[in-house]
């Protein structure tokens, strides 16, 4: 049941997107997300979708693999869409009792849905094409300025990359523990909210214990491999901007500018 989570799972193929500098991809994701909230016209949503489609196509990640990530936010998506759908005041089109759907509501809900889908696809494109290590390297280097004011940038990024590495392992473990408790007659499906919360205890306790045990083992393995913080560390894959990264930055600026401009020009 947890296997659908694709966040943080790297998809190992080669493509122009994979080869981009992680800093570019981080910045690109930010720009893309920001732009989604800037634009408000159907045309520009179309443009955003088109841009994303081109990016996905050139990333060589199968589209099917990307949409798997959407399943996990389906509930969230439905909730936010239906809130907008039913609670936006305006000229009603359909009415069931107290629930009414207005034309405005329909439009806002639809845009909201598109926005969320694009948002998730856009950010999962980043995590799918960037290894967690690259990602954290990118953050470490990109946020390097904060190091000067005492923010442990290296430690934070190391923690993140380890967390990402262990997500699939712990997901699998949760699955296993759930089945084991079910085999002892545990019931996770019936009962009220309190019963269900109680039913989580037999899963959560072993899961936490296992996480601590793994953390302990991992710390020892890291120490045995001479890890002693960020000081004096070299990089196997140091970050260097290439020509394509500059071009990517330029395209990004152009895209953002176009999105902002679209707010002021009525034509599009």
């Amino acid at each position: 049941m947890f296997r659908e989570i694709t966040l943080g799972q790297y998809y190992p193929v080669d493509s122009i997107i994979h080869r981009l500098d992680p800093r570019v991809k981080l910045m690109g994701t930010l720009v893309f997300l920001a732009a989604l909230f800037v634009v408000n016209s159907w045309t520009m949503y179309g443009v955003a979708a088109l841009v994303l489609a081109i990016l996905i196509k050139s990333s060589n990640v199968p589209f099917r693999f990307m949409t798997k990530g959407l399943k996990s936010i389906l509930v969230l998506l439905l909730i936010s869409v239906s809130f907008n759908l039913f609670l936006t005041p305006g000229e009603p089109i359909v009415q069931f009792g107290i629930l009414k759907i207005s034309r405005e509501g329909l439009e806002i809900a639809f845009k909201m849905g598109i926005r969320l889908v694009l948002l998730v696809l856009g950010s999962s494109l980043m995590t799918l094409t960037t290894t967690p290590n690259q990602l954290t390297d990118g953050m470490e280097k990109g946020l390097g300025i904060f190091k000067k004011i005492g923010v442990p940038v290296h430690e934070i990024s190391m923690m993140m990359s380890i967390a990402l590495r262990f997500i699939p392992i712990l997901v699998e473990e949760t699955d296993k523990i759930m089945k084991a408790q079910q085999a002892r007659g545990a019931d996770f499906e019936s009962g009220n909210i309190i019963d269900r919360a109680k039913a989580m205890v037999p899963i959560l306790v072993p899961l936490f214990i296992s996480a601590f045990r793994r953390a302990n083992d991992l710390a020892m393995a890291m120490e045995a491999r001479c890890y002693h913080g960020g000081e004096g560390r070299t990089k196997m894959k140091p970050l260097r901007y290439a020509g394509r990264d500059i071009i990517a930055y330029l395209l990004m600026i152009m895209y953002l500018a176009a999105c902002i401009a679209s707010r002021f020009v009525d034509l599009i």
Partner: protein, 680 residues
């Protein structure tokens, strides 16, 4: 040159309370003096808690000695300035493959060590390439570690240490969590590194077969070194090793028994070839010399009374798409009541998927599973009655429960174990066999068998009848004390607190955990004890069928023996049907009555262990093997010594060989005498 030297080494584990006051001091290592030559291959044996892992951590400077000195290349591990140099040249590989890989891509993980010690980028790449080549994992360099098999993950971990260009690699039970092919893969890699790169290897292991080729074996017990020498020298002491509950390789044990019986076999035979060459000289090659060994057939194999019938079971993932794949394909077999069935197959053959179907955790895409328990009454959801009431009715009718509690008495009453249930019990097993229709079925559909996929079937009730003990079941423990944890299952059955408690106590006694353990936290116990608590947790539900998925994985030889003895006694005393999923062909040969071989989701063979292991060539094609003794029989056959009945345990084999040897000698001497008379 000595690369590692321990002088009067001692180490204490210290437990402190909140105020840093010492509560407990446990001596894990005591006065160890040891020196290891550069380039050698050393194995360290010893059961859990003997101090071998502690020693490993001392070598790498992860632990610092409480007393004495540890020198690595003449550097003292206590000297903080040299600690990183010591760790650089002493790589460590740990037991759990998942918990030592840091990066999400293989090559980045291999580069982690060199990055830490500040190697320039170009050289890191060079080292990573070399290290991956050395362990044969170049093809996987861009893969995610999560997609690798256990053996491959361990090879990545070894590459990670190789990239530091170490002089020594210490491997702390690197194969304990792997399947046989993964184990072979890791050991092959390690041996190769030792030979071609001259790396000193210190291998800590429970598997005796892995130590046979070592230059030297060190046996540890209670924090001390008790034996030290070449494999030949160490395995000479079979009796001493058994006393400290260690195993010896099966061939060595067999040779030792034969020698004690007076046969001309030397001390410490390590390989099959060696043993065959000795036996060749003293055993007859004529066809008329057959050992009169007749293997007892388990009685219930003649009676057809299945407790479960699996019919054309299939499980398809993503049916109807291009990605369609079979986890199980058209599997059919019977599980006889009171038998021990072994499921074998390599990792990914569908064994675990199959077991999860048997207790309803997974639902088949096609096919049926029919069950016929001693009491089927609670298996259907009934309207109008509450579940709890139903379950209580079930317990009252459950004879297995009474059986368990009254067992010790009835065994005393019937020392020969012919009638398992006391005369005062309403019915006994034999009666059930004659009429599988019993009162519980009146509410069912009138036949003895119930399809678990029928309408209204209660899967939850099935899970109480078919107890499933997962691999590493100790990871599911969660309660504050042992007793409460074991009560979890019975309470889910809807039993009262007292009844659940009674069941829990009974189950704990059955797995050999006495009262002194009941109030302890499950997390304070040793690995083997934890596992027994987890098994008790399933037994307390009074299942009629018990499925054990790799029950001995990761245990030491003593723990393995203990656990199997308990499983055996469960079967013998309570008549519980047991399904054993195992990678160990030796265990399957020794303990099961019927074997089911799975390969790529299909049932490839089924039969008695003898029938199955006769076809060992086919098993090998599936990436499986056969018990050591099967191989020995075939080797002997190749030199003309034949065994028609197939003994498959060491004891049976020894019995056979000795018997054959004695008769042959007698006859030969007889002939000598006879011919002598004629001559006169």
């Amino acid at each position: 040159m000595k690369i590692i030297e321990a002088i009067h080494l001692a180490y204490d584990y210290i437990r402190t309370d909140e105020n840093d006051k010492v509560i407990e001091r446990t001596r894990a290592l005591n006065d160890v003096n040891l020196s290891i030559e550069e380039g050698s291959f050393v194995c360290i044996l010893g059961h859990n808690g003997s101090g071998k892992s502690t020693l490993a951590k001392l070598i790498n400077g992860l632990n610092l000695p409480s007393e004495g000195t540890m020198l690595v290349s003449s550097r003292d591990t206590k000297n903080e300035k040299e600690l990183w140099d010591i760790r650089k040249e002493t790589g460590m590989v740990f037991q759990n493959p998942d918990n030592q890989i840091i990066a999400s891509v293989v090559e980045e993980d291999v580069g982690f060590g060199p990055e830490n010690i500040g190697i320039p980028t170009a050289e890191i790449w060079e080292r990573v390439n070399k290290a991956l080549h050395a362990v044969g994992m170049e093809a996987y360099r861009m893969k995610s570690p999560n997609r690798l098999s256990g053996g491959q993950k361990q090879r990545v971990a070894i590459a990670g240490t190789m990239a530091m260009i170490p002089k020594t690699i210490v491997l702390d039970e690197p194969t304990a969590m792997l399947d046989p092919s993964g184990r072979a893969e890791v050991i092959r890699t390690v041996k190769e590194l030792n030979k071609t790169q001259g790396v000193t290897i210190i291998l800590i292991t429970h598997y005796m077969e892995e130590t046979v080729d070592a230059d030297r074996i060190i046996v540890m017990d209670k924090g001390k070194m008790v034996m030290d020498g070449t494999p030949g020298e160490v395995f000479k002491n079979v009796k001493e090793l058994k006393e400290i509950r260690m195993d010896v390789p099966e061939v060595t044990e067999l040779a030792w028994i034969l020698k004690n019986e007076g046969m001309p076999v030397p001390d410490s035979v390590l390989t099959r070839e060696e043993l065959v060459s000795h036996l060749e000289k003293c055993l007859p090659k004529q066809a008329d010399f057959q050992p009169d060994f007749v293997k007892k057939k388990p009685e219930h194999m003649d009676i057809t009374d299945p407790v479960m019938r699996v019919r054309n079971l299939s499980h398809v993932y993503q049916k109807g798409t291009a990605m369609e794949s079979y986890a199980l394909k058209d599997v059919s077999f019977d599980v006889q009541r009171g038998s021990i069935v072994g499921f074998i197959g390599h990792t990914g053959s569908g064994k675990s998927t199959l077991t999860q179907h048997l207790n309803g955790l997974l639902k088949a895409t096609d096919g049926a599973i029919e069950v016929n328990f001693r009491d089927n009454s609670a298996l259907f959801k009934t309207d109008g009655k509450t579940k709890t009431k139903n379950v209580n009715a079930d317990t009252a009718a459950f004879r297995g429960g009474k059986l368990i509690s009254d067992m010790s008495e009835s065994i005393k009453m019937n020392p020969d174990n012919t009638c398992n249930e006391g005369a005062d019990k309403s019915k006994n097993i034999a009666v059930f066999r004659e009429e599988p229709l019993h009162e519980g079925m009146e509410r069912g559909n009138g036949t003895g068998f119930v399809n678990i996929y029928a309408d209204g079937f209660d899967m939850k009730q099935l899970r109480f009848k078919v107890g499933l003990v997962f691999q590493y079941p100790e990871y599911q423990l969660f309660e504050i004390d042992v007793l409460t944890d074991v009560m979890f299952g019975p309470k889910n059955q809807g039993l009262s607190q007292e009844e659940a408690r009674k069941r829990a106590e009974e189950a704990l006694k059955m797995v050999g955990l006495g009262e002194e353990f009941w109030k302890k936290s499950p997390f304070e116990l040793s690995g083997g004890q934890k596992r027994r608590v987890a098994i008790a947790g399933v037994l307390a539900m009074h299942p009629e069928v018990l499925i054990l998925d790799e029950p001995t994985a990761g245990l030491d030889p003593a723990g393995r023996d203990d656990l199997f003895r308990q499983i055996r006694s469960l079967h013998d005393k309570v008549g519980m049907t047991i399904i054993l999923v195992s990678h160990s062909m030796d265990d399957v040969a020794r303990y099961t009555d019927q074997v089911i071989v799975l390969d790529h989701g299909e049932l490839r063979m089924t039969g008695t262990p003898e029938e199955i292991f006769k076809r060992y060539k086919e098993l090998e094609e599936m990436g499986l093997g056969a018990p050591q003794m099967t191989y020995l029989i075939h080797d002997l056959k190749d030199v003309g010594i034949r065994f028609e009945d197939r003994p498959d345990t060491v004891e049976e084999m020894a019995h056979c060989i000795v018997d054959l040897w004695k008769r042959y000698n007698k006859e030969e001497h007889g002939e000598d005498r006879a011919s002598g008379k004629e001559a006169r």
